[in-house]
Chain length 378, copies 4
């Protein structure tokens, strides 16, 4: 009889690569660090649970959700929508009140912006590290908005947060799910050639809207050419992410950007049609080389959740495609394809990234790993 436990059924192996990659790290951490999840029952909360199972550093010790769920076992409170089973230990864990009292120091947050605006400062005030996927504080001057491969140095903004000085608490954010794939594709080009203008039209998956989110009657056989506040977020966050840290503040990138956001009948994976103008002219092969060779600190220091290759260029004529490419790099790589000259700007291409892994829970987790590595979680 096979001795394989429940996780052997996992389709997505919970980023378990980490188990083999970072043996040193594991050896140094016989006792994992307890973490909590705020908003644990939603789509992104579920991804946090999934990705944290078997994580070599962190261990879920606390789950909180809305009042309605409080006190219930997680299996009952959440309507689990992922195609891997709920980890048994988590299934039985009782959902706590969404208050700092009794919560672990490290909190992953997946709250609606309105609630986040109220709750996240409470946790930071109480000394917690709030590593959040919410949009509430992304654009606040002293809050870092970070993709570790792109602007990990922006995490230093944390030192400017009043709570950090007082009791160690802070808020760190990752970008909107539609910004993250775009910025991963732009970052190496921006560094090498300077981005001067960006046009982007998105085709976004329904999981980006949470659960129940998009009604089936609205999306079967349909396209919805509107996602509330999405275009603004995509434009603003892209400029902050590609900005530079100067004198303790982020100076946003200044290029022009225009976004059009659409919802399509895809479960997971945001596809984007992108057109760019570069400050310094570049040949196709030079651009491809920037993408292929793009590596950053998460890869150098082998963070458990870091994909081997952050940007994968697929040279097939009809890629990337969500159904085929969304799980590349275990959902943490952005896949780019179809680089070709643009009749209006310089180049056009398509980019795809997993909206609830690289675009949400995996993004926050990678932020946490970098924060841990850099001593912000000690």
């Amino acid at each position: 009889m096979s001795g394989v436990g429940p996780s052997s059924d996992n389709l997505l192996p919970s980023l378990s690569k980490a188990a083999t990659v970072n043996k040193e790290a594991i050896l140094k951490m016989p006792n994992k660090i307890p973490v909590g999840i705020l908003g644990a029952t939603g789509m992104v909360g579920q991804r946090f649970v999934q990705l944290l199972e078997h994580h070599p550093w962190f261990e879920v010790a606390w789950l909180a959700a809305s009042e309605r769920s409080s006190g219930l076992p997680y299996a009952e409170a959440s309507r689990w929508k992922l195609n891997t089973p709920i980890p048994e230990r988590i299934a039985k864990m009782r959902v706590s009140d969404a208050a700092p009292d009794g919560a672990p120091k490290i909190i992953f947050a997946a709250l609606d912006a309105g609630i986040a605006k109220e709750l996240e400062p409470q946790f930071a005030d109480a000394g917690h590290a709030v590593i959040t996927n919410s949009s509430a504080f992304r654009m606040q001057a002293d809050v870092p908005l970070v993709i570790p491969e792109v602007n990990g140095d922006h995490l230093k903004l944390i030192d400017k947060q009043p709570t950090r000085k007082r009791n160690g608490g802070f808020i760190a954010t990752n970008p909107n799910c539609s910004a993250i794939g775009l910025v991963m594709a732009l970052a190496p080009l921006h560094r090498a050639f300077g981005v001067d203008a960006v046009f982007v039209a998105t085709m976004q998956a329904v999981s980006g809207a949470g659960y129940p989110g998009v009604a089936s009657l609205d999306i079967l056989g349909n396209v919805i050419p509107f996602i509330p506040k999405e275009e603004e977020k995509l434009e603003d966050e892209t400029r902050k992410l590609l900005g530079v840290l100067e004198n303790g503040a982020v100076k946003d990138a200044t290029f022009k950007i225009s976004a059009q956001c659409n919802r399509v009948a895809v479960e997971d994976g945001h596809t984007e049609s992108v057109s760019i103008k570069l400050k310094k002219s570049a040949k196709a092969e030079e651009i491809l080389e920037q993408w292929r060779s793009f590596r950053a600190r998460p890869q150098e220091i082998s963070l458990p959740t870091a994909p081997e290759q952050p940007v994968i260029y697929d040279c097939s004529v009809d890629r990337p495609q969500p159904r085929l490419d969304v799980n590349r790099g275990r959902g943490m790589s952005a896949t780019v394809g179809r680089l070709r000259p643009c009749g209006l700007l310089d180049w056009k291409f398509s980019v795809l990234s997993h909206n609830t892994i690289r675009g949400a829970a995996g993004a926050a987790l990678l932020n946490a790993e970098l924060l841990k590595h850099d001593g912000y979680l000690d």
Copy 2:
């Protein structure tokens, strides 16, 4: 008992508005004009059959398809995929060989480009009026590429065709299904303000690829960021359509245009995210007014297939949507929405049009009606 015949089941009333609209026309044509359909069994061929049922001027008298279908009753040769029944008279009609012999003078064509390249000139040489949806000759200098509301005057190019002079035969084309919605939205703005640059990202329905066309495994839960030759057609045809007829030749419009074409899981209706720069600055209300008031000869002379309003602006925040708007103007109107400032060019908006009605069979039919009105089919 109701005396209603089989057509009472029709979801789409076969443009039967015509029956009431153009009573004069009908009175003048007690005997309808016989027409033929080349490529009658494909998706666009089926739309021709559907739209020509109850047409006040034309009557299907001849159907041709590939050799395999020749001699079979149409019901057997076609795998009818529309949600209205095959007209009974047509169902029993035998499919003819795809050769001019015995064909009516007026031919609607819905052939693959490769076959069209060979067959259409044979029909024109034999004196037929070939009104075609195929791309084979769209960009040829002496072949008109026409949207009646936009550049109906280009039909005069027909007079330059050698066959026309010899025996009356000619070829007239309508644009690609992805170009037609875009150009209908651009045309009134181009006339009023001058279009200076266009960015367009499309999300195209599967019916645009014919039958069997796109495999279900390729599109369920997916986006395909590539449609062969589509971006080139969309860019080139847009400039020819918005060009001007000078000294017997079309001078293409000169603005820059960049297209990105995607296939999505939608049955009918191409949605496009568009961004434009105008030569002369315009306020939102001025643009809306151009769209709202846009009428042209097909409306003025009440062509049977002409929609009352070629461009409908929907001021809801999340429109147009294929599921809700594709059949506006009985599939002959383009629906525009979400006009808003663009961070890169001047304005952005979304446009939707029915790809096999306004974008294919209905387009050719409206061309035929204008040709008839202008004496080219006599």
Copy 3:
């Protein structure tokens, strides 16, 4: 210029056949009968609005919905999800409180069962004719559950209702959307041969669950093998519908029936795989003949919403299909196909019907027309 009004855009011509079919009826009713819609903003409520536009007998004079909508114009209160425009007159109509005061005598109801249980008796008590799609009172002994072609005589149960005697008020119901197609297919066979056993597995459209209803994440690329209370309704209602009225009470049919209900990614149209045992053996051709020749009072007296042919047998090998057949008989016919011997019972076949037209709003409307014809609405 065409003089065609807003309804010319209608994909579904609002049962406008009525306008031509029943000219006598129209002539007799220069002033249409005002009706109200309870639950007017939901999916079925919207269908009522759509189907009542241009109705030759009835005219919407009152719309009510939940408190939240009260006082708002209908266009604002409803999130219109049909692919024909909201009738202009209705769009501007204010939504009333859901109380009998000021409501017309005839009320079409499309309420959730829980609310219906409370509200519908209030309206009946106040003297209104409540013609409802809700399940709340379908199985109550003195409430008729009716498909006009099948058991129109059951409407006489109304005379047993205490309110009817007191002030004319009553409740009349139509079946669940999954029962109606099945029963239309069974009815002629039951009459001719006697049904002895029924197995049915359904594949039901998402519109049957209302709006927002089924979450897109639950149905894209998925099947849900469960719909709350649906199997019970389907089994129980089928036996009541095929029961006989004896001594002023319905004696349910006694055959065994087993239902399995599934939700699939279809917008409109419930497809059902059916297997039946007959009391009296029948040949295929005899069964087909029963379906083909099936007509009943609604056809005989030409009720405006009655389809010409209630059951259409399609002899193609792969029909019925929702995408192709759901709108037959303007959504009021059931389409049957694939009659073949069953290895377990006698015969198996597939049946399809439109779940929000024949299975909901159209069902209630046809009930109303029969009630009107029989004097119950005078």
Copy 4:
């Protein structure tokens, strides 16, 4: 830097559990057994490639497909449609002619029935072990049709095959993708209580039809109530699979069975609504216990591809669902749910299984493992 190779991106870990489960087996096989794949470029052929990557016993050494592909690198010949990358070694492998010459002794076959009928005997005649997913010989008296957990002993039929005696060659088959889930659910009940009658209505995924297979226009928003020859296969194969081997021949089970097969818009996973009559009455808990405790030789001898639990009962009210459950047991378990009394037979339930893993390539692979274990491949 991580040392993880290309397979780290795999969503589905290629049944790599085997690597840890069966260490003994691996140690005994330092040199893996070369195998070939006939029909390697189709959907099932691709699954064979995917599932054989990292297989502890077998190694792909030969790929064959139609003439058109012959000589091309596999990456070019196949249009890879799985969401894990083509194994690099395989991508470069040249596709061979589909002839026994030069092929390994063990052949996995995934051919269309017509071609299989011709080719498979050629390979068996030439001394090859043909382990096939094709339907061509499934019902032939001396050809085993096997699910290892259900009727592994039927493999002894091989000894009756003339080629086996002559040169060792033989044909062994696995069932149709729609039969396999049903039979896995029935097998433990048949053993314990005796199955007396079965009704099954299927909702089958598009991947079961191969590539390009089902046209997107036929399945988007649709159900197709017909799959050619599927109902016959499902009925006949179920009785052979649950038959008994007596005197060197399979005596089919004799219960009545009636199948209705439908295609739905699902990528992977056949869902089935089942109703059964048992010879010996059983309580719900007894049935559940049979499913829960069902284990067979593949589990006992730890075959690499065997799932830990062949039948998983999910007690949630709305399961199994393809999107959530298809990959259980890495696609090798059947998931059952909703056991409840049937109004017609005894019990009804739903069952789901992965149609291209457990229902095709994984089925053949498990057959091969059992054949290997039992000495048929030596």
